[in-house]
C-alpha cells in the first residue's frame, strides 16, 4: 500500500501545481466555450478544497491499509485474543462489561495468586478496558449486538488508524502537510508498531501509542500557540495515556526535557511558560486519579524531572520579571544566589535518589531479579531487529533529524529530543522499540518529503514561484502572532531552489524512481514481516504439510477447555507463570502465579516445586492446596517454547529465594551442560518438571529412525524412561502432548508402608480385658 500512498502523495505534492495548470487550461476553454463553467471550476480549483479532499482520502486509505494489514491472524485463524497478557485484559474487560465500572475498580480477583488474590482494580491501567467497554456499551446502546470479544480483537487495528491521524497532525505541525501524510502512511504499516497492534493483540500498547502521539501533537500545538485551551487538551490526552500504559513516564520526562532544553537555548517565551505550567499542574492532578498510579507522581524519581523543570521555569519566569524591575547589579547578585540555591537542591535530590536506589529502575531490576531478565522482551535490541522492524526508515530518519536540526524551531527541538531519547530506550530494551517507531516514521517522512519537494514538483515552481503549501500559509498567518517559523522556512525553500537550478530532469527522475523503489520495498517488507512474524495468535499453532495443506495444532485450547469443563470449579492449577493469564482466561480456574509477576517469592515457590523431587514437591503443593499441575511439553512436535527449555529460569528464580534447597549447578552436568539424556545430572532427571514432561514418553516411538523416547525439541533420547508417580496421576494430555495436566492426589487414608511388615514374634496370648 505504501507505494500507492506515496504515489498519491507525490500527486498531492504536485497538486497545487496541477491546480494551477488547470486554471491555465480552463481559462481559454471558458474564453471559447461558455461562461457558466467558470464558477464551478473556480470552486473546485480552490487549492484548499483539493488539498483537504486529498488529505482526507489519503488518511482514510492509510487507516484502511493499516487496519487490513493487521487482519492476517483473523483471516488465517479466527477472531481470537492472542498470547498471554491480552487474555488478562480480555478477562478484565469482560468483568467490566458484565459487572459495571465500579465493580471493576473494586475487583478483588480471588482466582489468581492463590491464596493471596489480587486487587485488580488497583493494579491495572484501566484505560484499555474502559475504552473497549465503552465502545461495547455504545454499540449495544445502538442495538449493534457485537460481542465484547470482537470489540477487543479489533480495538488495536482501529486505534492504529487514529494513531496515523495523530501522527499526521503532529508531523504537519513539525514540517508540512505532505510530510504529515507520508508519516501517516508509514506509521500505518510499519512493523515496529504492527507487532503490538495486530487484531487480537488486545494490549495496552495498542491504544497507548495513539495517546502518546496525540499528547505530543497537543503539546506541540500548545507550545506553538501558548494557549491554555491546547494545554488543557494536552493534559486530557495525557490523562488518557496515564490510564492506558505505564509508558506515560516517557511523556512526563520528555516534555520537561523539551522545556528545559528550550530554556537552555534561550528560547524561553510566554508561550512555553503558559503551556508547561498548565500541563504540569493539571496533568499531575489528573494522573493521580488513576488508582494504580496514585501518589507516584509526587513520590518516585521518574516524575521528579517534571517537578524540577516546573520549579526552574517558575524561577526563570520570576527572574525575567525581576529583570524588568531591578538594576543590573541587583539582578546579578540575585541571579547567582538563586542559581547556587537551585543547584544545591538538585544535587541533594539526586544524591538522595541514588542512595535509595530508585533511579535507573530497569537496570537495577535486571541485575537483581532474574524474573525480569527472564522475559525475552526485556533483552537489549539487536541491530537486526531495528532493520526488521523499521526497514528503510531506520536509514532515512537521521536525515529527517538533520533537516529538523538545520531549520530548528521550538517544536523541532522537541522532535529531536524525542528521537534521541527514543533511540536510547529502544537500544536498552526490545520492547521500547515501540516508542521509537512513531518518531522514526515522522522523521523519515520529513526526509522523504523534502527530497520529493526537491525532485518532483519544481517545473511549475519556476514558472510561478510563490506556490505555497497550506502549512506555509499557516506560518504566514502565524507570523503576525507570536510565531517565528515562517521566515526561516521561506529562506529554506529559496535555498533549495538555488541548488536545484543545476539539476537536469534525468537526474531528477532517476532519484525520484529510486525513492519510489525504496518505498515500494518498504511496503513489501512491511507486509511480509506482518504476515510472517507478527500474525500468529500463539494460542493456536499451525503446521504445513508438503502439499501446502495446513494442520492446526489446537492443544492449548484443548487442554484449557478440558480444565474448564471437567474439573471442579474451584480447582487450583499450578503452572509456570507464563500460562497464568491463559488459564484464568480460557480455563476459568484458580491459578497460583500469573504474568502479573508482582510476588517474586510466590513464583519462586512454584519454581521450587517444579525443580524439586516428587516428595519434596508434594509437600509444597499440599501446602499450596494444588489440585492440578499444568505443564507445556514440546518434545513430541518439536515446540521450542516449552517448560523444559524455560526450566533453568525456574531453577534460577527458585534459587534466588531458596538458595539452600535449590542450586542451579545441580542441574548441569559436571561439564556445565544442560542436557536431558542419560548424561544429564541426576537431580534434573528426578525433578518434578522432568518427570511430568517425560512421563510415559520413554515408551513412545515417534518414527522409525529414532529410538523410543526421542525428544524432538532437544534432539536427544531422554535419560530417564522409567518414570513412576507416587503422589500425582496423569489427568489429561492433549493430542500432540503439548499440554500435560497432572492431578495431585489427596493424602491416602492410611499411609502405605514402604517396607515389609516386621515379622513380630507372637507374644503369649495376653489380651487386655479392659477393651
Amino acid at each position: 500500500m505504501a507505494e500507492h500512498h506515496t504515489v498519491t502523495d507525490g500527486k498531492h505534492k504536485a497538486s497545487p501545481n496541477a491546480g494551477g495548470s488547470l486554471h491555465g487550461n480552463s481559462r481559454p476553454n471558458v474564453a471559447s466555450g461558455g461562461g457558466g463553467k467558470g464558477g464551478l471550476s473556480g470552486g473546485l480549483a480552490q487549492p484548499a478544497g483539493w488539498q483537504s479532499l486529498l488529505s482526507f482520502t489519503i488518511l482514510f486509505l492509510a487507516w484502511l491499509a493499516g487496519f487490513s494489514s493487521r487482519l492476517f491472524a483473523v483471516i488465517r485463524f479466527e477472531s481470537i485474543i492472542h498470547e498471554f497478557d491480552p487474555w488478562f485484559n480480555y478477562r478484565s474487560t469482560h468483568h467490566l462489561t458484565t459487572n459495571g465500572f465500579y465493580e471493576f475498580l473494586n475487583w478483588f480477583d480471588e482466582r489468581s495468586w492463590y491464596p493471596l488474590g489480587r486487587i485488580v482494580g488497583g493494579t491495572v491501567y484501566p484505560g484499555l478496558m474502559v475504552t473497549a467497554g465503552l465502545i461495547h456499551y455504545v454499540l449495544n446502546l445502538l442495538h449493534l449486538t457485537v460481542h465484547i470479544r470482537d470489540v477487543c480483537v479489533f480495538l488495536a487495528p482501529v486505534f492504529s488508524g487514529l494513531t496515523s491521524i495523530s501522527t499526521f497532525l503532529l508531523t504537519r505541525e513539525l514540517w508540512n502537510q505532505g510530510a504529515g501524510l507520508l508519516a501517516a502512511c508509514f506509521i500505518a504499516i510499519v512493523p515496529g508498531y504492527i507487532s503490538r497492534s495486530v487484531a487480537g493483540s488486545f494490549d495496552n500498547e495498542g491504544i497507548a501509542i495513539f495517546a502518546l502521539q496525540f499528547t505530543y501533537y497537543l503539546w506541540v500545538k500548545s507550545i506553538k500557540t501558548g494557549s491554555v485551551f491546547w494545554s488543557i487538551g494536552c493534559c486530557l490526552s495525557y490523562f488518557y495515556m496515564v490510564s492506558a500504559w505505564g509508558g506515560y513516564v516517557f511523556i512526563i520526562n520528555l516534555i520537561p526535557l523539551h522545556v528545559f532544553v528550550l530554556l537552555l537555548m534561550q528560547r524561553y517565551s510566554r508561550r512555553v511558560y503558559i503551556a508547561y505550567s498548565t500541563f504540569y499542574i493539571v496533568g499531575l492532578v489528573l494522573s493521580m486519579q488513576i488508582p494504580f498510579v496514585g501518589f507516584q507522581p509526587i513520590r518516585t524519581s521518574e516524575h521528579m524531572a517534571a517537578a524540577g523543570v516546573f520549579a526552574l521555569l517558575q524561577a526563570y519566569a520570576f527572574l525575567q520579571y525581576l529583570k524588568n524591575r531591578l538594576t543590573k547589579q541587583e539582578f546579578q547578585t540575585l541571579f547567582f544566589l538563586g542559581v547556587a540555591l537551585a543547584a544545591g537542591v538538585v544535587f541533594l535530590t539526586v544524591i538522595y535518589l541514588t542512595y535509595t536506589g530508585e533511579l535507573w529502575t530497569v537496570s537495577y531490576a535486571k541485575i537483581h531479579i532474574p524474573i525480569i531478565a527472564s522475559v525475552s522482551e526485556h533483552q537489549p535490541t539487536t541491530w537486526v531487529s531495528f532493520f526488521f522492524d523499521l526497514h528503510i526508515l531506520v536509514c532515512t530518519f537521521p536525515a529527517g533529524l538533520w533537516f529538523c536540526i538545520k531549520n530548528v524551531n521550538d517544536e523541532r527541538v522537541f522532535v529531536a529530543l524525542y528521537a534521541i531519547s527514543a533511540v536510547y530506550f529502544a537500544g536498552v530494551m526490545v520492547r521500547l522499540m515501540l516508542t521509537l517507531t512513531p518518531v522514526v516514521c515522522m522523521l523519515s517522512a520529513i526526509a522523504f518529503s523534502s527530497v520529493f519537494e526537491h525532485y518532483l514538483g519544481d517545473d511549475m515552481k519556476r514558472e510561478n514561484p510563490p506556490v505555497e503549501d497550506s502549512s506555509d500559509e499557516d506560518d504566514k498567518r502565524n507570523s503576525g502572532n507570536l510565531y517565528d517559523k515562517a521566515g526561516k522556512v521561506r529562506k529554506h525553500v529559496s535555498e533549495q531552489e538555488k541548488a536545484e537550478e543545476g539539476l537536469g530532469p534525468n537526474i531528477k527522475s532517476i532519484v525520484t524512481m529510486l525513492m519510489l523503489m525504496l518505498l515500494m520495498m518498504f511496503a513489501v517488507h512491511c507486509t511480509w514481516v506482518t504476515s510472517n512474524a507478527y500474525s500468529s495468535p500463539s494460542v493456536v499453532l499451525a503446521s504445513y504439510n508438503h502439499d501446502g495443506t495446513r494442520n492446526i495444532l489446537d492443544d492449548f485450547r484443548e487442554a484449557y477447555y478440558w480444565l474448564r469443563q471437567n474439573t471442579d470449579e474451584h480447582a487450583r492449577v499450578m503452572s509456570w507463570w507464563d500460562y497464568g493469564y491463559q488459564i484464568a482466561g480460557m480455563a476459568n480456574r484458580t491459578t497460583l502465579v500469573d504474568n502479573n509477576t508482582w510476588n517474586n517469592s510466590h513464583i519462586a515457590l512454584v519454581g521450587k516445586a517444579m525443580s524439586s523431587n516428587e516428595s519434596a514437591a508434594y509437600e509444597i503443593m499440599r501446602s499450596l492446596d494444588v489440585d492440578y499441575v499444568l505443564i507445556i511439553f514440546g518434545g513430541v512436535i518439536g515446540y521450542s517454547g516449552d517448560d523444559i527449555n524455560k526450566f533453568l529460569w525456574m531453577v534460577r528464580i527458585a534459587e534466588g529465594e531458596h538458595p539452600k534447597d535449590i542450586r542451579e549447578s545441580d542441574y548441569f552436568t559436571p561439564q556445565g551442560e544442560f542436557r536431558v539424556d542419560k548424561a544429564g545430572s541426576p537431580v534434573l532427571l528426578s525433578c518434578l518438571m522432568y518427570k511430568m514432561s517425560y512421563y510415559r514418553f520413554g515408551e513412545m516411538q515417534l518414527d522409525f529412525r529414532t529410538p523410543p523416547g526421542f525428544d524432538r525439541t532437544r534432539n536427544a533420547e531422554i535419560g530417564n524412561k522409567d518414570i513412576k508417580f507416587k503422589h500425582l496421576e496423569e489427568a489429561f494430555t492433549s493430542e500432540h502432548w503439548l499440554v500435560r495436566i497432572y492431578k495431585v492426589k489427596k493424602l491416602d487414608n492410611r499411609e502405605p508402608l514402604d517396607h515389609k511388615l516386621r515379622s513380630i514374634v507372637p507374644r503369649p496370648k495376653y489380651t487386655s480385658k479392659k477393651v
Binding site: H23, A31, G38, I80, R564, Q565, N566, E729, E730
Partner: protein, 585 residues
Amino acid sequence: MMAGNKLSVKLPTFLLLITGLCYQVAADDGLVNEEVKRTVDLSTHLAKITAEILLSNQGDSAVHSFILAVESDLAPHLAYIGASVKGDEEEDGMLELKQTAIQGQSGEFYKVQLPSSLGAGAKLRVKVETVFSHVLRPFPTHITQAERQLVVFQGNHYLFSPYPTRSQTTRVRLASKTVETYTKLGNPSKSDDAIEYGPFRDVAPFSEDTMKVHYENNTPFLTISSITRTIEVSHWGNIAVEETIDLRHTGAFLKGPFSRYDYQRQSDSGISSVKSFKTILPASAQDVYYRDEIGNISTSHLQVLEDSVEVEVRPRFPLFGGWKTHYIIGYNLPSYEYLYTLGDQYALKMRLVDHVYDDQVIDSLTVKLILPEGARNIHVETPYPIDRVPDQLHYTYLDTFGRPVLVASKTNLVEQHIQDIVVHYTFNKILMLQEPLLVVGAFYILFFTVIIYVRLDFSITKDPAAEVRMKVASITEQVLTLVNKRLGLYRHMDEVVNRYKQSRDAGALNSGRKTLEADHRTLTNDISSLQARLKAEGSDLADKVGEVQKLDGQVKKEAYIENEKNLASKRLDLVTRIDSLLDTL
C-alpha cells in the same frame, strides 16, 4: 372405564395372578392381545421397545379406543410413545394418543383412538413404539480407561397391558456378544447378540416380571443435558439457527488416569469414549460455525451432501465417562424454504428440534423463535405438547421496539421428536422500509451536522486576520466570475464582427457593439468597485486586479479594427497574460 376394577395390588409386585378378576377387566371392553411380538432394542444407549400387537375384540360391542400402559418403573424415563396401525398395504397410520389414568394401577396409561371402530370379533394389528432414555445403568459405575463398559437393563419380560395376552415373544437385541448375566425365565435362547424369550402363553393383564440383562455396551452414552435452539427469522431472506449445546458422557465414569499414550497406541483403549459424532444439518445450511467460549473448535469437518450438510463434530477432547463439554453450532438457511407468505400472513415451518447425533437424547430443550420486528397475531402449532414461557423481546441490529421472541421448553426428547413446528403471524410489509430509512436518517443527520459545523463559526474569539482573508477570497472569486463574463463578451464580439464581415450590415454591428460595450462597461465598473473593496481590505491583490483592468483596456481599444489576425494573436497573448495573473490570485 377401569374405575370398577377392584384391584389394589401395588406395583411393582412381581406377579399378578388373580386371573379371575383380570378376565373380568378384560371382559369390560372385551379386548384381548391375541399375539404380541416384542422387541427390546438395547444396542444403543436407549431402550427402544417395539411391540406388534394383534388386538382382537372379543366383546359384544364395537370398540373405538384401546389403552397402552407403561410400567411405573420405566414410566419416568419414557421419552416417546407412539402407536400405528399396521395395515396390509404397509402404510402405517399414526394414531392419536391421550394420557389417562387408571385408578388403582400405577404406571402411565395412554388411550389410543382407533381410526375406525373395531367391531365385535374383529382383529387389528397395531405397532407400539416406546423409547426410554437413561434406563441402561452402567455397572460397574466407574471403570478405568482400559476397561469395557458394562450396563444393566431392568425391564419386564411381558408386555405390560391392561388386556390379557394369549401368546407373546420377547426378543432382546444387545450391543455385543458379551453378556454377563440375564434372567432365564422360560429358558430363553441366546444367539450372537440377541436373547429370545417366550413364547409365553396366557399372560394376565398388568403382569410384570423383572427382566434383567447385564451386558457390554460400548456405544456412545452421549446425552445433551441442555440445548438452546435459537431461530432468528429475517424477512430479508435469511433464517439464522444457533444451537448451544451442553453435552455429557453419561456412561460409566472414568476411574484413575487418562493416558494419552494408551489412547493413541491401543485401539481398544477408552473404547466407550466419544471421539466424534455426526450432526446432519439441512441441505441448504450455509456459513456453518462450530465454536465455544474460547473460539473456534478447529477439529471439525464439514461435508456438503446432496440432501444434507454433514458436520463431523469433534469436541476439543475425547469424552470419557462423566466428562462434559459445551459448544455452539450455528448456520444460516434461506428463508424461502421455510417461510410461506400470503399477503400480510406469514407461516414459518421449521423443525422444532434438529438432529445432533444418531439416537440422541435431550434432557432439556429450550427453543427461542425470534420473529421479525412488528410481527403480530402470533399463533403456534406444535406437533406435541410443549411448555410455553411468556414471550420476550429481543433487540438486535436496527431494532427500535424489539422483536417478539417465542420461548418454549420441553424435557426428555429423542430422535422421534424431530418434527415441524408451524408459526403463523401477520406482518405489515411497510415495516420492511423501517430499517433502511433508519440508516438513511442516521447518515442524513451525520452529514447535516458536518455541513452545519463546517459552515458556521463556533469560535468564541474573533480572528481579524482570518476574517479579512476570507473576505478577500470571496471578493476575488467574484472578480474571477466577472472577468470570465467579460471574456465571454469578447467572444460574443468576435461573433458579431464575423457576422458583420459576412453581411456587411453596419447597423447590426453598431447595435451589437453598443449593447456589448454597455455590458462591458458595467462589468468593468463592477470589477473596479470590487478592486476598491479589495484595496480597502488592504490586500495586495487589488494591484493585480488593476493590472487586469489595464490589460483589458488595451484589448478593447484594438477590438474590431482592421487587422484581425494580428488582433487575434495579440488578444490571445493578452488573455494568457491575464490568465497567468489570475492564477496568482
